[in-house]
Symmetry: C2
Subunit: 220 residues, 2 copies
Amino acid sequence: MKEIQLEYVLPGNIEKRSFEIIREELRERGIWLPADQDPVTRRVIHTTADFDYAETMTYSPDALDTAYRVLRSGGDIVTDTNMTRSGINKKFLRTLGGEVHCFMAEPDVAAEAKERGVTRATVSMERASKLTKPLIVAVGNAPTALVSLHEIMENTGWRPELIIGVPVGFVNVVPAKELILRSGVPCIINRGRKGGSNVAAAICNALLYQIRDGKVPERK
Amino acid sequence: MKEIQLEYVLPGNIEKRSFEIIREELRERGIWLPADQDPVTRRVIHTTADFDYAETMTYSPDALDTAYRVLRSGGDIVTDTNMTRSGINKKFLRTLGGEVHCFMAEPDVAAEAKERGVTRATVSMERASKLTKPLIVAVGNAPTALVSLHEIMENTGWRPELIIGVPVGFVNVVPAKELILRSGVPCIINRGRKGGSNVAAAICNALLYQIRDGKVPERK
């Protein structure tokens, strides 16, 4: 039986080593990510060990500048699952003045959705649209959240500053993402079926860590 | 420009429709999952939209029987991330008498790890080994947690009832999973680099839902 070999890497260096491996393997695949997208897409690959994301992650031209501006100015993040909220580095976000909301799991949201015969995602997105701070909406689970968001934007003219649209699944996930891509709102989308709560959190954290690590020059 | 088509599926039927699509596409790929593993592996594919899992999910022969016995008897689940804890259906688990622990995020675990120069995963697994209830350890993130678990089992003879080992990543993830596969402890492992906190939660929920939905015959 083949012996099992563990590589000795200092705990603090595992993430660094992982990101190097991802960089090397992207190179072997002949994939060069645009410099500004690279830290975000690579963190998604780090979170999933899935190189497909290198080909499907899609950024509107203004998405990253918008993300950094919103986060630096103390903007909030709205998620569609507690898992994404749980995965976001809320401690660092708080130092910037921001916080994470997840309306989906609040009991009165479930009650209102039931009463009106709509999904909890719809009610959640309506609540998000009532917030007055600059907002990033990060959807990692429910395509319905993106569809509702799109409807609210069409009907009211309200828009979040940025949409992170990476729900996962088999029913309406692909068209829901296309709706957002065509909306004109700055967005980071993973085209296709893949995504997830972990992917949404990874994207938020990649943006936060770029700021934390001084990789994003301050705007004059 | 091609029109965007949304499929109309009643909110309550989206999951059912998704599972049907997965079944159809597995068939098209010529993959038949063993009947007992099918609901678990299909839920993982539902969570990731990644059919690779159909080929890499690995169950020890006693894994599923053990899982159902432990959960039914009020056993607890220990996770290595708050994201997995957050994703598990704790409400249904409670009706069986179980709860979810995640020691990793407790402040004194971080302090102890720092003082002893070990990882938080190591300290967390030590704490898990002190629990007296039947236990499922579900690791979706840190390969170190599996390595530490293996060491504790070797050194003390203590063992959890079941190990769900689906960490994701590029450093020591593959060998850490092989260590567990060879340990003789009932286990559900995703071989290779892929996995994640969401995958660990999906596996726990698949097991819980089989019980909830009366799909697992009671043992006489």
